[in-house]
């Protein structure tokens, strides 16, 4: 090993450790409020990928800056200095093996485990089912009864607040009318999103874990995330998660209306 390689290696370690510490200390600034169990998993995946990406980023930075500072040729270098690099035979294979291993690690976790987590509740019986329809340019919500069959209340005004019970598994079945266009159902606080496709029913499961709402954090909103024309940006509704018992009171009041 020559001196340059050793110095660069030391810089690389120091710079990586510094960035890792910064990211881990300030990790809470990376993402908004965690309104669901899914959000906690997804944010941890985000943090893990950031931690894995940092050494690669710092390697590029250190090699670039070190080369620029240390290996500067003089003015006439273009004309009379040259340097033939002998390609190390193992170089390519080493990278191939190493990067494949890295890829597979990331694919297994948080990749495969993430997909599992997103679909882990697929066969569970939800506490509440809501049928959602995305129309240009507002959302319609139909709360189903405990048998998940009949619609008991419908919210379809633009300023209606979507009230959800805390600590419950909520299933959204999402679609769009046949003569409509694509929309995307997204609640940033829950980190969950799926498109509303005409003629297709998609679904999302969310485990709420916090009593909070639109007034606490802007991310408690249903936001259309697929360009759908002029009303796309304001195609949103407020979301609020409340205590289970209060939710049932609210539901009964709504039915009586």
């Amino acid at each position: 090993m020559n001196k340059d390689t050793i110095y660069a290696f030391i810089f690389w370690i120091l710079f990586s450790v510094l960035l890792e510490i910064i990211v881990i200390v300030f990790r809470d600034t990376l993402y908004p409020i965690q309104g669901s169990e899914q959000a906690i998993f997804i944010d941890n995946a985000f943090l893990l990928l950031t931690i894995l990406a940092i050494p690669i980023f710092t390697l590029v930075c250190v090699m670039l800056v070190y080369s620029i500072v240390k290996f500067r040729g003089n003015k006439n270098a273009l004309n009379n200095n040259w340097n033939d690099s002998k390609t190390n035979k193992g170089w390519g294979w080493a990278w191939l093996v190493w990067s494949t291993i890295l890829c597979l690690i990331v694919v297994v976790h948080p990749g495969y485990t993430g997909i599992k987590e997103l679909h882990s509740t697929m066969f569970d019986n939800p506490d509440l089912t809501i049928n959602v329809t995305g129309q240009r340019w507002q959302w319609k919500y139909e709360y189903l009864d405990s048998e998940h069959k009949e619609t008991i209340i419908t919210l379809k005004r633009k300023d209606d607040v979507v009230i959800l019970p805390n600590e419950s598994l909520i299933r959204f079945n999402i679609t769009a009318p046949e003569n409509d266009v694509l929309h995307s159902f997204w609640i940033p606080a829950f980190r969950m999103k799926v498109d509303a496709v005409p003629g297709l029913i998609t679904s999302l499961d969310v485990n709420t874990n916090k009593i909070a709402g639109f007034k606490d954090d802007i991310n408690y909103r249903v936001q259309c995330a697929e360009l759908c024309g002029i009303g796309h940006a304001p195609m949103a509704s407020k979301v609020e998660v409340i205590e289970k018992s209060e939710f049932h009171k609210w539901l009964i009041e709504k039915i009586d209306e």
Partner: protein
């Protein structure tokens, strides 16, 4: 009189296109009144097809090509007439290259202006400059025009000018097809700029149906423009494949082909194979609009499926980013090896990586669709394949870094841009991992995180390498040397401004701001204000570039044939090269980057 004479082919082209439009629309009127299909869009479509034919024949395709089909006397190569060559159907690859470059620089600055307008709207949370509809049109135009610039500036502009020189050929394999691939580009620009008069097009450049088949007529113009541009891309890809495979100088085996040429070859494979898919998808939308077919629209249970379009569209449009990126990778490696005076490290591995990217690039399209509602068992394979693309891409950038390592770095403007690409693309590539991972993508899809990510790859990677190529080949193409100080100022300002703008842009995306919106919640006001300010700063960083180019073209010192002491063949001829490129056809007798063995051309 002289000017009118020089512009005559253009005037004739315009006149013929008007006549063509009339013929086409009258024909369509006749057909639609027979079938009783009362719409104006068939008129526009058929009118446009005839107008396009009229335009091409008018600018000179009839004289050089069309007459041959009818057994008439035709002119094959007409390279006379100074500046007038650039205003007609010229078959000289260097003329076509410059035609592409000038046209695309104009489109680039127009699209850049649209970006500035968008940032002016987004500087505050409420509507302050545009209505939502106008904003969508400006946003969509910015997108598609920049895509056109990124696709065609390398493959149409630089590859056209440089590839035949680099492989020691007289011209490309199909010179007339080459001219045709350029002359369909101006109608694309005109169609796109006409969209605001036809109700705008507010679908974004992805133009997902059913919106694309329901919205204003502007969207039809966009579909026709994109389809036309696709023809240009397919013909260009075919042409470069044939040229590179068949026309290399004696002695230039596959192991001696310059790395930029490999990049163009790889990109051409994608352009030839992939573009046909998107062309087909666009054609289906046009048919939905003009004759009321339902491919993507589930009407009364007899229609189609909206997801079908997304699959076909991304089957092209994901590989398309490699049409833009691969020649860019090629040129930065070319520049790094030249300006560090060290032979390219692991040349063979880089070539393998390029071809690996072509192969894998076709197998990752559905990572754009993790939240689209497609079957969830497709998530894992597409995530795996997407992550695998980092392996060949890593090889390209490791080769760049290892070439730099323990070399003699000469920090001229082209190298500054090339090194910026390595830095920017590392951020662009690493943030891609978050979007390849299903769990994090479910949150980040369609947010500003995605916008920041693809600007890091497309601007930070492709546009920076376009500028690297511009400065690198400027002496060869113009015969003049650019101003080094202004060039370095441009490089450094652009690097700083670009990173400030787009690094900041990740933040609102991570915190819940979706994309393609003119208005947004107040909480994102601060970050967007700064993104806009940094964005304006980035727009200003192009001022030294414009001054430099104009000044150097008129008053710059004469450049020698090989100012960088490079070993590739384009530097072995005069600057600019003569018609048919070389006084004596060159031959190659060694590996192209063996600096110690090749004869280094001394300054006269």
């Amino acid at each position: 009189m002289n000017i009118a004479n020089g512009l005559f082919p253009i005037i004739k082209g315009l006149l013929f296109s008007v006549i063509g439009f009339l013929i086409g629309s009258i024909l369509a009127k006749g057909l639609t009144s027979l079938t009783g299909y009362p719409m104006k869009e068939p008129l526009i479509t058929l009118g446009y097809i005839f107008a396009l034919i009229g335009w091409l024949m008018g600018v000179g395709m009839w004289k050089t090509w069309g007459k041959e089909w009818f057994g008439l006397k035709f002119i094959v190569h007409d390279n006379s007439g100074g500046w007038k060559r650039y205003f007609r159907f010229s078959t000289d690859h260097k003329v076509v290259g410059i035609q592409y470059l000038i046209t695309l620089v104009v489109i680039f600055f127009l699209a850049g202006l649209f970006a500035v307008l968008m940032r002016m709207e987004l500087i505050s949370p409420s509507e302050n400059l545009f209505s939502a509809k106008e904003y969508n049109t400006v946003m969509s135009l910015h997108g598609i025009m920049m895509i056109a610039v990124a696709v065609a500036t390398f493959l149409g502009g630089f590859a056209n000018y440089v590839v035949p020189l680099m492989i020691g050929a007289k011209d490309v394999a199909f010179p007339r097809m080459n001219a045709l691939s350029y002359w369909v580009v101006p109608p694309v620009a005109i169609l796109l700029l006409l969209t605001p008069l036809f109700g705008g097009f507010d679908t974004g450049w992805t133009a997902y149906p059913p919106l694309a088949s329901k919205t204003a007529t502007g969207a039809l113009l966009f579909e026709l423009a994109f389809l036309t541009f696709g023809i240009s891309s397919i013909l260009g890809g075919l042409n470069f494949l044939a040229t590179i495979i068949l026309m290399r100088a004696p002695g230039m085996g596959w192991g001696r082909v310059p790395i930029f040429v490999w990049g163009v070859l790889a990109a051409s494979i994608i352009a030839l194979i992939g573009t046909q898919w998107v062309a087909f998808a666009l054609l289906m939308i046009i048919l939905e609009r003009i004759v009321g077919m339902h491919f993507f629209n589930p009407v009364d249970g007899v229609g189609g499926n909206a997801l079908l379009y997304e699959h076909v569209f991304w089957f092209y449009s994901h590989p398309a980013v490699y049409i833009m990126a691969l020649p860019g990778f090629g040129v930065i490696l070319e520049i790094i090896t030249t300006f560090s005076k060290k032979s390219l490290y692991a040349y063979t591995w880089v070539v393998r990586a390029f071809l690996g990217i072509v192969g894998l690039g076709f197998l990752v399209w559905a990572h754009h669709m993790f939240t689209s509602g497609m079957a969830h068992w497709l998530h894992l394979p597409f995530m795996l394949l997407t992550e695998l693309i980092s392996i060949p891409t890593g090889i390209v950038f490791l080769s760049a870094l290892t070439t730099l390592w323990r070399s003699n770095v000469v920090l001229k403007t082209p190298l500054l841009f090339a090194l910026s690409v390595v830095f920017n693309f590392s951020i662009g590539g690493l943030t891609g991992i978050f979007l390849a991972d299903v769990a994090t993508d479910v949150q980040l899809q369609d947010t500003y995180f995605v916008v920041a990510h693809f600007h890091y790859t497309m601007v930070g990677g492709v546009v920076f390498s376009l500028f690297a190529a511009t400065y690198y080949w400027f002496p060869k193409i113009s015969g003049k040397m650019y101003n080094e100080t202004l060039g370095r100022i441009h490089a450094i300002l652009m690097l700083i401004a670009f990173n400030l703008t787009f690094l900041t842009m990740f933040a609102p995306g991570m915190h819940g701001m979706n994309r393609r919106i003119a208005t947004y919640p107040d909480t994102f006001g601060d970050t967007n204000f700064w993104v806009s300010i940094f964005g304006f700063f980035m727009a200003l960083s192009f001022v030294p570039f414009v001054i430099n180019i104009i000044y150097s073209l008129s008053k710059g010192p004469k450049s020698s044939n090989n100012p960088w002491s490079s070993t590739t063949l384009e530097w072995k001829t005069t600057s600019p090269p003569p018609i048919e490129n070389f006084e004596t056809p060159p031959s190659v007798s060694g590996r192209i980057y063996d600096y110690s063995k090749s004869e280094i051309v001394k300054e006269p």
